[in-house]
Amino acid sequence: MASPASRSAAKGETILIDPVSRIEGHMRVDVVIDGGQVKDARCSGTLFRGFENILVGRHPLDAVRLTQRVCGVCPMIHGTASATCLDAALGVADKVPPNGRIVRNLLLGSNYLQSHILHFFTLAALDYADVAALADYDGPESDLKAVRAFIDRKDLAPFFPRYEGDYRCNKQTNIDLVRGYVKALTVRRVCHEMISVWGGKMPHDVAMVPGGVTSEITADKIAFTLSRLGEIRDFVE
């Protein structure tokens, strides 16, 4: 296959990052640098599955299930796109009942919350937060004590290796970031519980169908959703 040099006509030193970590999927980045300046950059996805081809000839209802498998982080947007397409194709776009519309929005909105928390903390934060700042933590918080005990054991995967670059936050900010990172692991899960109560399970729901949703609306599910949303709101605020 093509080597990075042949991917760009620009002259200079090429920096290759393959794989790019902490994203969904397979990706590489080639950057050409000359005299301290970026001359060219190229991002490429390094996995092809051919979803469009897989959908050809199938029963249309199956699309809402299959297209969600494009991405396990954001399945609901693929499901929603697919279901609304089918609404239009089947001529029922104006017949989705209000409850169906609201539950669909809950499914999609909760996934949106999940994706933001996942992106900001679980994926991106390790570029900014210096986990090593917890090596001499002697405070009372059990999560942070667990991080310190983890560092003491000296097997530091998956937080090392890393680029030993510019972790410019001060110690207290680092502690706050690591606390947020650990707490976000729980809060992101709660977002999925909010989807599951209407959608059956996450990733990949079963409730979104053309015309609305399959799930029943009950008082206990509304209470469950409000309580979970409250937990997420507390964290975000």
């Binding site: 794989p19 397979h26 092809f48 396990g72 994926l123 399970k201 996450m202 409730a207």
Partner: protein, 300 residues
């Protein structure tokens, strides 16, 4: 402090959607922070050496981790494989580059499997081919089992199918391997190499709508009460404990939300279960056992 034994885990992704990783993040007991930071059981800690979705490092740096694992922890690490393996053309899926050449997933998965203590296939894609291998299988995807057979790799395999699997199914199986070792665990697998503690019963056997099935109270359209058999439920052909375990911290499961089981844990998913919303019948079901009379009456 007693010495803690590290269980090195290398999680490699092929033709996948990362849903299996996200499902692992959904684990409740242990929560994911506890799983990564603390001991799984006293004296044993899972060391997540390689998982592109979560690890701090990038590029070359993390490819060195892969290479080092196969040497330093040869025969000792567990390979968790997510996703099927595209073999139709090397360019359909690559991870990293070596000497100017992008490394095909099949090559890296094969190398990792060859030197692992065990291969745990996380999800239906790596267990059976799953979604990327669905007709017309545009990229020639095969399951890990198939790749191992082609490459004559004899490392033991445990399949944890599901689209995605319940996190308990993976963590429970890893724990069993860590505590009992691979030998005894091999005896606890079904004919499709799935741990029987999780995949021992049909969804149909423990489904709360089973009484409706037995009384022929069937849902005719989405949202109706009653058994979802006529809406295409694959519960009578799918082995998993979803009805009793339930997903997302025990919040719900497919049939609980009024959606029929699609049989996502079976090799038939998705092609031989398609169209997903059409009633199954004996003719289309080669592993459809419950509604068929046994050939001979069981001996008393």
């Amino acid at each position: 402090m007693a010495k803690v034994v590290e269980i090195p885990v290398v999680w490699m992704q092929g033709a996948a959607c990362t849903g299996c990783v996200v499902s692992l993040l959904n684990s409740l007991s242990p929560g994911i922070a506890r799983l990564v930071l603390r001991e799984l059981v006293p004296g044993k800690h899972v060391s997540l050496r390689f998982l592109v979705t979560a690890m701090a490092g990038q590029g070359r740096q993390v490819m060195d981790v892969v290479r080092d694992e196969t040497v330093k922890d040869k025969g000792n690490y567990i390979l968790v494989m997510e996703g099927s393996v595209p073999v139709g053309h090397p360019a359909y899926g690559t991870v990293g580059e070596e000497g100017g050449r992008e490394i095909p997933i099949a090559e890296i998965a094969g190398n990792l499997a060859r030197h692992a203590a065990a291969v745990v296939c996380m999800g239906t894609c790596s267990s059976f081919g799953g979604i990327p291998a669905a007709s017309p299988n545009p990229t020639g995807c095969v399951s890990m089992g198939e790749l191992l057979a082609r490459e004559k790799i004899t490392t033991p395999v445990v399949n944890i199918p599901g689209c995605p699997p319940h996190p308990d199914w993976l963590i429970g199986s890893l724990l069993a391997v860590a505590v009992y070792g691979l030998g005894p665990v091999a005896g606890l697998l079904d004919d499709l190499k799935r741990p029987k503690i999780f995949y021992g019963k049909l969804v149909h056997e423990t489904c709360p709508r089973r009484a409706d099935f037995d009384a022929a109270r069937f849902a005719k359209k989405f949202g109706d009460p009653g058994c979802l058999y006529l809406l295409g439920c694959r519960g009578p052909a799918s082995y998993a404990d979803c009805p009793t375990r339930m997903f997302n911290s025990g919040t719900n499961w497919c049939i609980g939300a009024g959606g029929p089981c699609h049989g996502c844990v079976e090799p038939e998913f998705p092609d031989r279960f398609s169209p997903l919303y059409e009633k199954i019948d004996d003719r289309r079901m080669d592993r459809f056992r419950l509604l068929q009379k046994p050939a001979t009456a069981p001996k008393a």
